[in-house]
Symmetry: C2
Subunit: 333 residues, 2 copies
């Protein structure tokens, strides 16, 4: 592989995304992308006693589904990358504890899915034949941990996003017929001083644009190179801010840009305010929807940029602003 410009890495023998799987919760199962997911759950518990255990079961079963669909025996997977929003990433650790696969825990908040794919792609080109990448989030466990227990029935402001209950997992392979990960542009942290934990889209949009523009400058590409430019979970408000900032920098992305958090819920019929968020948002929408669009060549060139807000409830209570990050991968078939 080779470094281009400031932050981009170009693969000489681009890894193939061999197979993906996705499982989502009940709210996501009523949204416009429902038919694309492998499994739609009827409730948030899935037979478990707690939301945390349910989230861990969701990512575990998604991983099993991805491995099973890929046809690669689990013992042939060289390593795995996974992370989630729960404190100390327990959803991922508990999901993978019986896997017998070397495990790298990653944390990039809602950017985790693309962070996993990026590191997985580096490993696949350099030493691994197969790498597993996965992430999850859960509406109830996230609300409880980051905001208020659901039982309180707190009202959510219109800028708030709805954490997706769901998981996405992918198996990367050194050999295959695509879709190929051709480039990655890992992001740096961008903090514009926004402090409202109920307005994550605004906090993360500057990081998205920073990585987007760096990707264009590093590769010499322009927005129209891609059939689709997709952000992880900026939601409706963050999406509009991102379009505006990009325009102010001379890049018009309005025609081919969209956001996983906008796509996963129906703004008019589902009460999800600014749209979806959470690691599982980008994870499930890519694994469920975009991977199939790439396989069927309806989309041939995709730039996927997952965004993350690198804060916790303590940092918010201590008056800290919300640092954002965005990692990009270029996928082609």
């Amino acid at each position: 592989m080779e470094k281009l410009g400031k932050q981009t890495i170009k693969f000489d023998t681009p890894p193939t995304i061999l197979e993906c799987a996705s499982i989502v919760g009940p709210k996501e199962s009523e949204g416009p992308l429902a038919k694309y997911f492998d499994q739609c759950l009827e409730d948030e518990f899935w037979g478990e006693k707690t939301w945390e255990k349910a989230e861990s079961k969701i990512i575990k079963e998604t991983i099993h589904a991805a491995i099973s669909k890929s046809g690669v025996p689990a013992e042939k997977i060289d390593c795995s990358f996974a992370g989630d929003l729960l404190n100390q990433c327990i959803s991922s650790s508990f999901a993978l504890r019986d896997s017998n696969v070397p495990f790298f825990g990653v944390f990039g908040a809602c950017s985790t899915f693309v962070e996993s794919l990026s590191l997985g792609a580096i490993c696949t080109e350099s030493f691994a034949k197969h790498v597993l990448c996965a992430t999850s989030s859960h509406f109830c466990s996230a609300e409880k941990q980051f905001r208020f227990p659901l039982e309180l029935g707190n009202q959510r402001p219109p800028t708030a996003q709805w954490t997706v209950t769901g998981s996405g997992a992918a198996v990367l392979s050194k050999s295959g017929t695509g879709p190929f990960i051709t480039h990655i542009t890992p992001g740096k942290i961008v903090d514009m001083g926004i402090k409202d934990a109920n307005n994550m889209g605004a906090a993360m949009a500057p990081a998205f644009v920073d990585t987007l523009l760096t990707h264009f400058k590093d590769t010499g590409r322009t927005p129209n190179y891609y059939d689709a430019i997709i952000s992880g979970d900026l939601g409706h408000i963050g999406k509009e801010i991102a379009i505006d900032i990009a325009k102010s920098q001379g890049y018009n992305i309005k025609s081919n840009y969209n956001d996983c958090g906008v796509l996963i819920f129906d703004k008019n019929k589902q009460d999800t305010h600014s749209g979806g968020s959470g690691c599982g948002c980008c994870g499930s929408v890519f694994s469920g929807y975009f991977f199939k669009q790439l396989k069927s060549k309806k989309i041939k060139r995709l730039l996927l940029i997952a965004t993350g807000a690198l804060m916790n409830s303590t940092s918010s209570q201590q008056g800290e602003s919300i640092p954002g990050i965005a990692h990009a991968i270029s996928i082609e078939i």
Copy 2:
């Protein structure tokens, strides 16, 4: 690079650990390794209003020190890996938010330092000229988050370990005169069903032995190949368990094996029960002590295996056991 056996990766052009830095808290400054650290703090706050902000300042200043000592301009660092024990790894994120360096957040609990070095080494051999790796922990923020607020004055059982207040950071380089990272053996999750969050050493020792033995089998080496085999933070109890399990598997490591958590505190004079723990334990002891031993060739072959307990306080409260993990790197000069 090349994969050996089940889990080990051998580097063709082993990355050099160009420079390291370490900063520790007041308790560590009274321990036997005090003279090796770059900076010893007089109190746990370091002029900040909260322990979390203090921890973030410690890792930030440690990173600055490592970069400064290395002579590599910050803008020449291709990417960074960092993580810590605070929820959502805020210590690392806040420390690196002004760095302008592409950032991969990692979470391996107390194995984070070696996880960072492992991924950093993969990047250094494959595309990067320089990579930054860092981690931190803080006694007060960790106690507050994982066990009880210090103000309660709870008694700690003899099996409990003392989370190190400290940070270690390293700059890896494609070119240099060593110490070289020659091999890595990323660990898989091992969960033997231990549920006592005040006995982490016992929970993590089986993962340590699993990675240790896998490393020997993959490389064809035996314990006496190394001048020193060092675990991250098994502490006194975990260290004894590890020696026993290894012995039962036919490997005698008693003569050249020790533990960072055992080395950092004086068992007789300091009231730290089973010894040190936390990401900053392995981070500061390697960066402060072992790096200097390697540079001066007092140790020529080191196997560093950092161990992590992949749990959180919610998982303990929900009756879950504690999954352990251990990542190994072989360092030679």
